[in-house]
């Protein structure tokens, strides 16, 4: 058996940075010489992310060829309103309503390996291949690794360390407590051994198992850029740079240099006959201001914050990242910073609080006008550049789980949900945030050379990977094969074929709750990643 398709996910990768890292400067070689070769000998295009360019909806769209309105994953955290409280839960693979490429390829006899992809835990029990999920703490990797004996096999890899490999909530919480220079350096350093662990697992599986589809996600790109954006954005390397800045830049470039080496080794190990694809779930750019959306909605009368209880409980609440709202009076609010959306509370059943269903359209239209009115007092520019109704951006059976309005801030930042004024405040320094344009590259036999193609959509990746495997593209995919990436000769030899639809809805209903400190932990992590002020 040999690998037919190698897919390397680069979470948050952007051409803004990659274009810079593939060029030599001042007689020095490029930071990413192998990626320079991929640029020269392969093809590339921008990749438009999901309406909210966020890891959960975007990666799940990439893995399913469908938008969030179909797959149903909109955020890290799902909220359920129950009476006078809101229960926050974590999304997992069971919440995805549509079939993934891992499953589609599996049931057609292809062996797959999916390493470090979010929302692959818990893994399905009928996969033809291997899953080591991402976003799972090390203590739960064994149970969420598939097949069951794989974890013990991985432990035989020299220097394998599950604690280094897995998502370490605790470390990231500590890092998030203080954004000192030291912590930022630690943050970047932390991802160097992590990526090495994933590389070694990928290298091992490719050598020992040679699955038809070998896929590994390196997520350090995203994590690093959130905290180190000022040091990697080429546009911010001007003027007099501090010693710390230069040290952070060198550390960050060291990360990319190491990553380039891992990529080269994986591509080389896969062999010359393999189609190689790279994609990111979104791009990156600088966020320069904090937008406290619930505070603004409170000014407009949609949100009513609750009075904090006295003593320690009040202090804990005040420091909490969740809005402490009066559910009897709140009409519309933002649930989490990462959702960048507004949920309108509609009383659909007797005893529920919120607006009457008949008022929905009027309230939503008024809300849109109020959001449009949030403007920069100096320039008159709208702070919220785009406001989308959910039916326009999340069509599909899962649309009712989406926010009623999806917002795009003018700097692409994530909103704050805290009860703090002013509503809009300039950040002390720019931080990395998600830009809707990620990257998509192809390299290998049958692939065009050296071309920059028109922008593709994130759902196209799934279709393209299945095509590369020699499989039909499911007729209900939203994504299309990126045919322009391939030579005419290759397309003539292997035409794109639309085939049977995916298997239908697999998600199951109810949910489990998340305890208070877990919420805090996850949110602290999200704060570190720049989803919160």
């Amino acid at each position: 058996m040999t690998v037919r398709t190698l897919f390397i996910g680069l979470d948050g990768a952007t051409f803004t940075v990659l274009n810079d890292l593939i060029k030599g400067k001042d007689g020095e070689p490029p930071v990413m010489p192998f990626m320079a070769k991929v640029f020269a000998e392969g093809v590339r295009s921008k990749l438009r992310s999901t309406p909210n360019p966020l890891t959960p909806p975007a990666w799940v769209s990439l893995m399913t060829g469908r938008g969030p309105g179909h797959h149903g994953v909109f955020d890290f955290i799902r909220a359920e309103e129950r009476g006078d409280d809101v229960f926050f839960t974590l999304y997992d693979s069971r919440d995805c309503r549509v079939e993934t490429i891992w499953s589609i390829a599996s049931r057609q006899g292809k062996r797959v390996a999916a390493l470090n992809f979010p929302f692959t835990a818990p893994p399905p029990d009928d996969l033809n291949g291997f899953v080591v999920p991402g976003f799972v703490p090390w203590r739960h990797l064994r149970r969420n690794t598939y097949p069951q004996d794989l974890y013990d096999r991985l432990k035989q890899i020299p220097d394998f360390n599950a604690q280094e490999l897995a998502w370490d909530f605790e470390q990231e919480k500590q890092s998030g407590d203080q954004l000192s220079d030291h912590d930022r350096e630690q943050w970047v350093s932390y991802h160097l051994p992590r990526e090495k662990q994933w590389f070694k697992v990928a290298e091992h599986l490719m050598d020992a198992e040679a699955p038809d589809l070998m896929a590994v996600l390196f997520d350090g790109v995203d994590k690093l850029q959130h905290q180190a954006w000022p040091y990697v954005d080429p546009a911010l390397q001007t003027g007099e740079l501090s010693g710390f800045h230069l040290r952070m830049r060198e550390l960050s470039l060291g990360y990319f240099r190491q990553l380039d080496g891992f990529i080269e080794k994986l591509v080389t190990a896969a062999g010359p006959d393999v189609n190689v694809f790279f994609a990111s779930d979104h791009g990156f750019c600088a966020s320069t201001e904090i937008v406290r959306i619930n505070a603004y909605l409170a000014e407009k009368g949609y949100v009513h914050f609750r009075e904090l209880p006295p003593g320690d409980a009040g202090m804990r609440r005040d420091n909490s990242y969740f809005a402490f709202l009066d559910w009897h009076k709140t009409v519309a609010y933002c649930r989490t910073p990462s959702c960048n959306g507004i949920t309108i509370r509609v009383a659909r059943n007797p005893g529920e609080t919120g607006i009457e269903p008949s008022e929905y359209e009027a309230v939503r239209n008024r809300l849109i006008r109020d959001l449009e009115d949030l403007k920069d007092p100096e320039t008159g520019e709208r702070i919220i550049a785009e406001i989308h109704k959910r039916e326009d951006v999340f069509p599909g059976a899962a649309m009712t789980n989406a926010p009623d309005l999806q917002l795009v801030l003018r700097d692409f930042g994530f909103v704050s949900v805290r009860n703090v004024l002013p509503v809009v405040e300039k950040r002390a320094y720019p931080i990395g945030t998600h830009h809707p344009d990620g990257v998509f590259l192809a390299y290998g036999p049958g692939v065009e050379k050296g071309k920059l193609l028109g922008r593709r959509h994130i759902t196209d990746v799934a279709a393209t990977l299945l095509y590369s495997l020699g499989l039909d593209v499911p007729s209900d995919f939203e994504g299309k094969v990126a045919e322009a990436m391939f030579t005419r000769e290759h397309l003539d030899k292997q035409p794109v074929v639309l085939g049977a639809a995916t298997l239908s809805d697999r998600a199951i209903g109810a949910t489990e709750t998340m305890a208070e400190d877990e919420k805090e932990q996850i949110l602290a992590q999200l704060q570190m990643l720049g989803y919160m002020e």
Partner: protein, 100 residues
């Protein structure tokens, strides 16, 4: 995960907890039993409790709505014994069996 299903719910819960914690390096003074407390005895953090809930749901092939166990009067409970988890699962299974 369904291979961990035993003849009684408490045996299943214990088997899942044993499976879950096998790599944790815990120094337990006694084997895991129905009296074992998740936080006090096994150092469970919230994320571990969530994983236990997922593992139980996978084992039985259904969701149980563990919020009814994990929350009391609007607050999250501090700690739980395995027997409480087993009793909760039993009550849900029983309810399901009598619901037409």
């Amino acid at each position: 995960m369904s291979s961990l299903k035993k003849s009684t719910t408490i045996e299943t819960v214990i088997a899942i907890v044993d499976d879950l914690t096998q790599d944790w390096g815990l120094d337990l003074s006694a084997p895991v039993s129905e009296c074992t407390q998740l936080a006090a005895d096994l150092q469970f953090a919230s994320v571990d409790i969530i994983q236990l809930c997922v593992a139980l749901e996978q084992c039985y092939g259904r969701r149980f709505g563990f919020q009814d166990l994990l929350m009391k009067d609007g607050s999250y409970v501090g700690d739980l014994a395995l027997s409480q988890f087993a009793a909760f699962v039993d009550s849900k299974l029983k309810l399901e069996s009598i619901t037409p």
